[in-house]
């Protein structure tokens, strides 16, 4: 009974309850009402169409990044560098826009080109991590982390140097791009249907790659046993590189979405931490693509819902991060216990 999928779900619900309890305790300790906080977060995220649209704005890049990370996780790689890959995607897409800023080409084509640019930029950054690992023996965690810092430094250089606003170089970013370079919007709402469709297509694509293609099967073999995969005839390091390229491209699209649909310019922390958040989502869903949509939506909702807190309750909005982190820890912990029980019950 312990082994069934439903017991897994049951245990994850326990984890959710536990993490809500811990967060409640934290809130109580500073004299705030947990119920009040949670209800504020709920109304702040799904209380109105406008709020839901805001959640979706955050959901799109998160889902794209999670989709990419599912590929690298399947290949057994910890692509911490995904954060930098989003940044490079954003930089590359802004670059494309700047090239075509006076062009007479139709704006939709230029936006499409900027997305291609974003994919290329993200993939290039991921490829660097992959090359460092394959040919330099640098673990992808260290390589990726290092390149994240380089990507952030590059952003700052562009904002304050090469692409600075005339006269007023500031943390607010580069000169906003013309309105014609913005992605379509759903009426008055900030969410772009195109971006939403791209993100959902990405996760569906990843689901089918991992579950229905030879490529995905080989990728999993490489991830689970590099040596045996090689001996079975799979070109292992090439597959590691492919997975970096795919993940980087998807993270790059997330960066391009941040530019064309949200910020319309390059800002210092354009990746908004979606890379790290995506790592958490991927771990939380135990690398099963099928759960990516609901969980990514939930995390996005927590992010948006907590924006209310400072205004209404004088609480810091980082409460959502606390809840997300604790949730991941409890889910992993509870899963660890469940595995232990399964092991014990199969022994006796």
């Amino acid at each position: 009974m312990l082994k069934s999928r439903w017991s897994g779900l049951f245990f994850q619900l326990i984890a959710l309850v536990l993490s809500l309890t811990v967060v409640s305790l934290i809130l109580l300790s500073i004299g705030a009402s947990p119920l009040n906080a949670f209800s504020n977060m709920l109304t702040g995220s799904v209380g109105s169409t406008r709020k839901i649209a805001e959640v979706l704005v955050s959901f799109v890049p998160l889902l794209l990044v999670t989709a990419g990370l599912l590929i690298t996780f399947s290949a057994g790689l910890w692509n911490i560098g995904v954060e930098g890959q989003i940044v490079l995607g954003a930089i590359a897409s802004v670059w494309v826009f700047r090239i075509f800023i006076d062009s007479t080409l139709p704006p939709s084509l230029i936006i499409f080109l900027s997305f291609l640019g974003g994919m290329f930029g993200g993939a290039l950054w991921a490829a660097l991590t992959g090359l460092l690992k394959t040919f330099g023996g640098v673990n992808e965690i260290f390589g990726g982390l290092g390149l994240n810092f380089v990507a952030n430094a590059l952003t700052l250089y562009l904002i304050f140097g090469a692409w600075k606003r005339e006269g007023v170089a500031s943390m607010s970013g580069t000169e906003p791009l013309p309105d014609s370079f913005s992605l379509d919007q759903l009426g008055e709402l900030r969410i772009s249907p195109t971006a939403l469709i791209v993100a959902i297509l990405a996760i569906v694509f990843v689901y089918f790659v991992l579950n229905g293609t030879y490529f995905g099967l080989k990728l999993k073999a490489v991830g689970k046993n590099f040596r045996a995969a090689y001996l079975l005839g799979i070109p292992t390091w090439q597959y590691s590189m492919y997975s970096f390229l795919i993940c980087g491209a998807l993270a790059g699209i997330a960066g391009a979405v941040q530019v064309a649909a949200v910020y319309h310019r390059l800002i210092p922390s354009i990746s908004s931490g979606y890379g790290y958040l995506g790592l958490m989502v991927a771990m939380l869903i135990n690398y099963q693509a099928i759960w990516a949509i609901p969980v990514a939506f939930f995390f996005a909702a927590l992010n948006i819902g907590s924006i209310q807190l400072p205004i209404v309750m004088q609480l810091d909005s980082s409460l959502s991060g606390v809840l997300q982190g604790i949730l991941v820890l409890f889910v992993l912990l509870v899963e660890g216990f469940r595995q232990k029980f399964i092991k014990r019950s199969s022994q006796t």
Binding site: G212, T213, Y214, F215, L217, K218, K220, A221, K224, N225, R227, A228, A229, Y230, L231, L232, G233, I234, P235, S346, Q347, T348
Partner: protein
């Protein structure tokens, strides 16, 4: 130590692994426990050494007193120590550190004193172990010696040895046996678990045979091999008659090949294997046979010379080139090198087909898996993860992954740890391949197996390779001597 096992029962779920076993082992004797894989030997020994607890109602009496053990540490307290098949030591640490582990005492061990104790002990038993050496520099046999020293020092009076002769050299085995034979003088008791008949015959005072969880009976010397086999399998098993092989064209040829790794250098290898031929590689572990085999697979790049497959020059080419050219390599470490834990049998069969195209044809994959599972007699389903299979079934799965046709199959210890029936089954499958002109090179530490199934034998000793020996004309004694480094006087390099 006098050991009495009374009504030992052990259930694993529905499996009744030990059925009402009653066994008395008198103090100062060497007791053999014989049985095929899955007969319940390991379960019984785990019960006796505190790793698992028997069902209620089972009783263990040591020197007449009933005891209850909840962990291996408890067992050690009672003086029971187990020597595992794979030494449970810490390779990156020094011999002395390993020796000190598990010794109760102060937080800061007295290394000087311990070194003296260790040296005294090794002298008493005639082992040559340097306490400052690192464990990963030792052979399996030496690690075993270290473990024995440690257990003696912990005051162990009952030694349980699980398949201790696997992976050690003939001389180390001799050394081990002579040490074990000294134990009874000091009223120490030895339980020797094995499926190797000759080892049991030459060492044990009495042998208990287990089959399907039951104690079939006990045998006193003089032993008859035939009787043992009957008791173990319930029927007589013969290895099958040897058939002469028709020798075909040259498949793999090595010309003046030189190989090197961190420890060994092998020079001037000249060797040819022909279609349908089986060549056995004998030698102590780490004598160069693994290097030779990995060179045949393209996993080790020769530092000199030429390797040709059916006339095509493959020197310096990658493993995958060799694989596409029709060479298949089955490593001994099943879950480390051969199979992918976490993937199902179906996944493995699909991958092994070297599929082209994009989308997986799942029904076809499962059909393929079902066929292979049936024809290779694997106990598992198409959706079983490989790590859930038993060792023997993993080995069959490895064989079932072999593609058709192949020119050369390379096998590392293809039957290590398997019972006789599995061995016969696997070799029948391999011999079928030979009839289709596939050549086989295999490494084994079981000389009987080498003589039984090879056409020619190469013996390795410290990076030297013997002339190919005709398996019909040589014998265990000659091979044993060569493996041990005797009779090499006029051999430099090899010529086929």
């Amino acid at each position: 130590m006098h050991v009495e096992l009374k009504n030992i029962n052990k259930h694993f779920g529905k499996v009744h692994a030990n059925k009402n076993i009653n066994l008395t082992i008198p103090s100062g004797s060497i007791q053999g426990i014989l049985g095929e894989n899955g007969a319940g030997k390991s379960t019984l020994m785990k019960v006796l050494s505190g790793f698992i607890q028997a069902d209620p109602g089972s009783e263990i009496l040591l020197d007449g007193k009933p005891v209850k053990m909840n962990s291996p540490a408890d067992a050690i307290q009672y003086g029971i120590g187990m020597l595992h098949q794979d030494p449970l030591d810490f390779p990156p640490m020094k011999v002395l550190d390993n020796f000190l582990l598990g010794i109760p005492g102060s937080f800061f061990p007295n290394r000087k004193e311990a070194t003296q104790d260790f040296i005294l002990l090794t002298q008493e038993y005639g082992f040559l172990l340097d306490p400052e050496n690192y464990v990963d520099a030792l052979t399996v046999g030496e690690r075993q010696q270290l473990e024995i020293m440690r257990l003696i020092f912990l005051g162990v009076r009952l030694f349980i040895l699980d398949e201790p002769t696997t992976g050690i050299s003939a001389s180390q085995k001799e050394k081990l046996f002579s040490t074990l034979k000294k134990f009874p003088e000091q009223a120490m008791t030895v339980i020797f678990v094995s499926h190797k008949l000759e080892d049991v015959e030459s060492l044990c005072d009495r042998v208990a045979v287990l089959r399907a969880g039951e104690l079939v009976g006990e045998v006193n010397p003089p032993y008859q091999t035939k009787k043992f086999v009957e008791m173990m399998f319930g029927k007589e098993v013969t290895l099958g008659d040897k058939q002469p092989t028709k020798i075909g064209d040259t498949v793999l040829a090595m010309n003046n090949v030189a190989l090197e790794d961190a420890r060994l250098k092998i020079k001037d290898i000249n060797f040819e294997i022909h279609a349908g031929e089986v060549v056995g590689l004998a030698g102590m572990e780490g004598s160069g046979q693994d290097l030779f085999m990995r060179a045949c697979a393209g996993l080790v790049r020769p530092v000199g010379g030429k390797i040709q497959l059916k006339g095509q020059d493959l020197s310096g080419k990658s493993y995958h080139t060799y694989k596409h050219a029709g060479v298949s390599f089955l490593p001994a470490a099943r879950l480390e090198e051969a199979l992918v834990p976490g993937l199902t049998l179906t996944d493995h069969f699909i991958l092994a087909e070297q599929p082209k195209g994009i989308f997986i044809d799942k029904p076809a994959g499962e059909k393929l898996a079902e066929e292979r599972i049936k024809s290779f007699n694997i106990r598992g389903t198409p959706l079983s993860n490989v790590e859930s299979l038993s060792g023997g079934n993993q080995q069959r799965a490895e064989l079932a992954l072999l593609q058709d046709p192949l020119d050369l199959i390379l096998l590392e210890h293809p039957t290590r740890g398997l019972d006789i029936e599995s061995v016969i089954y696997i070799w029948n499958k391999l011999k079928e391949r030979c009839k289709q002109n596939t050549s086989i090179i295999f490494i084994s530490s079981d000389l009987e197996e080498i003589l039984q199934y090879s056409d020619r034998v190469l013996v390795f000793f410290n990076g030297k390779i013997s002339n190919p020996l005709d398996a019909n004309k040589t014998n265990v004694k000659e091979l044993g001597q060569l493996i041990g480094g005797k009779g090499w006087a006029d051999e430099e390099g090899s010529h086929a």
